[in-house]
Amino acid sequence: MSEERQREFAKWVLLVLGSILLVFGVAPRPVPPELQGAAASASDYPLKIPLGLIDPEIPAANPLTLAKVELGRQLYFDKRLSVDDTVSCATCHDPHHGFAQSEAISIGIQGKKGNRNAPTVLNAALFDMQFWDGRAPSLEEQAKAPIVNPVEMGMPSLEALVEKLKKIPEYRISFSEAFPDGITVDNIARAIAAYERTLLAGDSPFDRYFYGKEENAISPAAKRGLEVFREKGRCVTCHEILSSFALFTDQKFHNVGVGMDKPNPDLGRFLVTKEEKDTGAFKTPTLRNVALTGPYMHDGSEPTLESVVELYDKGGIPNRHLDGGIRPLNLSAQEKKDLVEFMKSLTSPGVEKIGGPIPSQ
């Protein structure tokens, strides 16, 4: 080919190549296969619902997106959300401990203690209310409280946290990617809530047995324990198991007497509603992953599942406001053991990995 023709040819090749590159450079990225099937746009988060659970309600003001979930994960594990950079959400709601903690009462900044046990965040997205006393109507509202609680994360105000995060370039970028209005109090809460909505834990051996119809998924002892749970133990009425999913909570408040025999007992739901009938009543917790989330009850006063069963078997702790559904159960030793075996079958696989990898700090 002549030199001129070579140059002509090269120009055409470059033009074509450049066009192709241009096209691929500016065109919207195709949706990768793992994200296909999600509704509407490619930025929606494809939430998978594990066996034994239902979809969480996603508030209209906070649709789930990849960017928010990722940002929320960063925030959840970030100790800088506390005033002295020592406590993050994950400190008390630790993936290595069922997203709860092995302390009876969690310890916040500067060794300070509150008065309640940290509940698991797993499946909290499925509850109508948050906290032992139900005072927060959503995950978003719950996320704000520990940040400014003087014995937990101790920030002087939520606005102070906004200012602190604005000084961190990575957060300026990731907030702007996730929210049109960047770093605000509500957006911090929304991001954390979005991440928490992905913390769904089902698919336990119980789920595979009960919903998956796998006969051998749980032991004969656990099967007997399930029967005690639903009949003689009277557990299922508050710790619900339904025909297509199980949250193991009726999301109501009951007084089983825990703490009522001590001076200055925690009055629980009464502090929120001021109704006498709510004295000493606390929200029925879920029992999913209960084997990982001890110690138990709102004050962490029960160290083991066996001790919890003993508490219920004897009829709770007598007090003037004891729930009328609580009474001595007269369980045999075998029935108590079986009940514990059943509760152990409620542990989901790979809990520490739910919600994705823990970001390096």
């Binding site: 003689k232 009425t237 025909s243």
Partner: protein, 222 residues
């Protein structure tokens, strides 16, 4: 003369039938009346009886009935007239059924209405079963703490058997009446549950359902 009389009788009888039909909602006595009438006529070939044909006002349905000779002509006795009405109705219904129409009055057992003896016997059997259920309903030995069902449910009130199946909040599942009976035996009565096919469970269900006679079935209602 016979034909006109027969026609008049038929008209009177049909009017009577209509009146009976109004009364008959849920009430077994009209049926009993019919069956009583029929019993009187059964065993057709008695001495002193004659066959007599009757045709319904639809012009199609016709029956032949054996009536006492004394009644072969003239105004019929009430008993025989009822017999005629019953047989005509039966015949009409069978024809309708064979045409695929169930009709408004259902006769069981291959088109043969219930005899009075049968009705009496079956009612007595039901009565006995319901009474056994009533006895158990008032028997605290179903439980261990002296409580019997009637203490919270006098006359089986507040049992709502006509709302089952429904989601029963105490059991956390969709339940039938017997599931709730067992729950009550285990919980307020602190007793041992009965097997689903235990005669005692069946008797309890029988009494509870019987005591709530007339209620509209509204499964799922809370």
């Amino acid at each position: 003369m016979g034909k006109r009389l027969a026609a008049l009788v038929l008209v009177a009888v049909v009017i009577g039938l209509v009146a009976l039909a109004y009364v008959a909602s849920g009430n077994s006595s009209p049926q009993t009346d019919r069956s009583a009438a029929l019993t009187a006529g059964e065993g057709g070939d008695q001495a002193g009886s004659d066959d007599r044909a009757f045709k319904l006002c639809d012009g199609e349905t016709e029956v032949v009935i054996s009536v006492p000779s004394a009644e072969k002509t003239g105004k019929m006795s009430r008993e025989v007239a009822e017999q005629v009405a019953a047989r005509l109705m039966q015949e009409w219904t069978i024809q309708k059924r064979s045409q695929g129409d169930r009709g408004s009055l259902l006769l069981a057992h291959k088109g043969e209405p219930h005899s009075r003896r049968e009705m009496r016997t079956w009612d007595a059997e039901l009565d006995k079963a319901v009474k056994e259920g009533y006895r158990l309903f008032h028997d605290s030995s179903l439980g261990t703490n002296g409580i019997s069902c009637d203490m919270c449910h006098p006359d089986a009130d507040d049992t709502h058997p006509y709302t089952y199946p429904k989601f029963q909040t105490q059991l956390k599942q969709v339940a039938l009446l017997r599931d709730m009976i067992n729950w009550c035996i285990e919980n307020p009565l602190e007793g041992k549950r009965l097997a689903d096919d235990d005669p005692r469970m069946k008797a309890l269900e029988m009494y509870i359902l019987w005591a709530n006679k007339g209620e509209v079935a509204v499964p799922g209602k809370h």
